[in-house]
Symmetry: C2
Subunit: 384 residues, 2 copies
């Protein structure tokens, strides 16, 4: 298997883009990645997207976007695994280039959610859960996470306020990221006063949806690269599932799929959690932030909130997370999120993260979660 | 890139399966493929499906199906490229195994269409076309094909009846296929009396939708195989796009994406159309059958109907097509179709096609078309 490098990155601001269609947004990110790489061609285009069939009445995004961005005749198709669609698309691009089947691939994550009424988006998000045994019983996606959080708090004795630092840290990091949805400071007082959505999840435990797209260009790492950016290679990749229904798990407060996917990624990279300089995790809800830190080997079981309370997760901390704002404050356009994570890690490893730069970052990890922990994809990147 | 073998195949009958859910159907095909291969594990599961988000209110089919069939913790996600979703999923599985990222992969195509009203399915199929510039103008998917067929008839002087043999041949071949939707003989008289859907396409030019699933198990071809079936390997693979809107093509009666994808596949296999012993093409409409034969090198431009009229496409003809009934008579559960094609070619190359056996078949080709020719995936298989 040949090594693969990320040689171009592009992203759009996450916002309500009333003036742009799905293809406008995706095109902006793809063309930015091509410009960044100083290339005008790619053999293939892989698209991470969850809900265009309902939110945009458009499927077949492969031909739709390849055509729009001028990648005439390139191979192109869509990959979907709910909120982990972006990382699953990245993994497809990685395997395509690694196999030798293509010599270059653009991977783009895109979601255009804000044209639809909120109730439709809630229904679309619920398709990530089991239609028969979760959704038809009336459980929304945030309610599922609330059940998991409640159980976690009961098991380990954490209070709601103990989760605050995940969100406060994310908002602090988003302020200097021009692509982030939010640019406001979150205080503990404001966190505590947040309107409840599904007890114990209040609005500041949850990430905002939005419209956005992020893209990269992948080539074999021995290809000549002339863009002038430091080279970043994919050092490890892992992908695993768990039961789709949370209630089918013997241990619903442990991300078994994360544990398995990081194990593969660490093994390929030949490193462990100690070597990771930053971690773009999937903080769709504060409970997922805690569970992700634990299953990835950065904290002991049940100790996720401790790492946040002790400020270990800040840019200068032991394990910086959400370095550009994370899902909580950069925003969570679901099928695009996994690709934002990749773009941000590449910014960090290139030393192009501005005031949010993690000093001397060599290894960065991304982890994208689909469903209530049922599909988890982890990648490790390395400054070459 | 290491060579990949298909060591297990499974399929369900295409029908209106009121008594089975999406996962029941997919599970039946996946488990049949595992049994056929005498294996009980796979590292990964790739799913071709187009419309589960609307037809079944269920996305995230990766975790949903992996969980159901007992592939606990396997990597699993969905691939979508409209009606070519099945072949795109196959190509993903091929690249995954070829890259060395996984050692075994199940690929399954599945579609459960008949629980929804016809109008919803028509709307869902239309998401394969350009939402802004085709669908919003009122053009349904069959209407797009009718426009292409009309232009083709005008250009080359063919009459409607000249397309009859594509459908008559397909119905003849389906009779002995227990998995086919139709088991009735189509006569020329009946073809000519078919109710018109979108002039010049009548009901006998069009393939029927249905519920169905087909699956394979892929491993590196040097892996030990103990199932007793002859080994079939993937000899060539190609995938290409064209403009999503038919009206954007300078030559809308030529499948440029097919031409490009077969070129890649032939080149990898080191052969040309003369060596192909059977061709499972995408006869969603008779016009697509003609265009596919031409762009794949089996007929001259404009001569597709001639090959059918001269009986060259029958089991004993020069280039047997739709050997188990094709989309027209086996049926077209859209996201599953590409995988039915693969399963049928493997049946033929193994010598397990019963009364439909193509004598001494060594090379078989599949071609799956998404949209009005905008996404085309071709594979060549070889008896090892």
């Amino acid at each position: 298997m040949r090594e693969v490098a990320v040689i171009g990155i592009g992203q759009t601001k996450i916002d309500e883009h009333w003036d742009q269609s799905l293809r406008d947004i995706a095109g902006e990110a793809v063309l930015a990645a091509m410009r960044d790489a100083q290339r005008d061609h790619a053999d293939a285009l892989y698209i991470g997207n969850m809900m265009s069939s309902t939110a945009n009445r458009q499927q077949h995004l492969g031909a739709y976007i390849a055509d729009w961005v001028g990648l005439k005749q390139s191979e192109a198709y869509r990959i979907e695994s709910a909120c982990s669609s972006g990382a699953a698309a990245f993994r497809t691009g990685l395997m395509a280039v690694a196999s030798g089947e293509v010599e270059s691939a653009v991977v783009v994550g895109v979601e255009k959610m804000t044209d639809s009424p909120g109730s439709e988006i809630t229904a679309a998000l619920a398709t990530a859960a089991d239609a028969d045994w979760e959704v038809d019983q009336g459980v929304s996606f945030v309610a599922l996470n609330a059940l998991i959080m409640r159980r976690y708090m009961l098991e380990y004795g954490w209070k709601h306020e103990d989760f605050s630092q995940f969100s406060i840290n994310a908002h602090a990091n988003a302020i200097s990221n021009p692509f982030a949805r939010f640019h406001d400071t979150l205080t503990l007082e404001r966190y505590n006063r947040g309107p409840m959505i599904a007890d114990p999840i209040n609005v500041y435990d949850a990430s905002p949806i939005g419209d956005g797209s992020a893209a990269v260009l992948l080539v074999p790492s021995d290809a000549i690269i002339s863009s002038g950016h430091p080279k970043v290679v994919v050092a490890g990749s892992g992908s695993a599932t768990d039961t789709i229904a949370a209630h089918d798990r013997s241990d619903p407060i442990w991300l078994k799929a994360a544990e398995r996917s990081v194990k593969s990624a660490y093994s390929q990279a030949g490193i462990g959690p100690m070597e990771i300089d930053l971690f773009e995790y999937h903080d769709a809800f504060t409970i997922m932030a805690a569970l992700s830190l634990e299953a990835s080997g950065f904290c002991e079981r049940g100790k996720g909130p401790r790492a946040a309370l002790d400020n270990e997760i800040s840019i200068t901390g032991r394990i910086p997370v959400a370095s550009m704002g994370g899902l909580k404050a950069r925003g969570h356009p679901v099928g695009a999120t996994g690709m934002y994570q990749v773009v941000e890690v590449v910014q960090q490893l290139r030393g192009e993260a501005g005031t949010n730069q993690v000093a001397d970052a060599k290894y960065g990890m991304t982890q994208n979660i689909g469903g209530s922990g049922s599909n988890i994809v982890t990648h490790i990147f390395k400054r070459a």
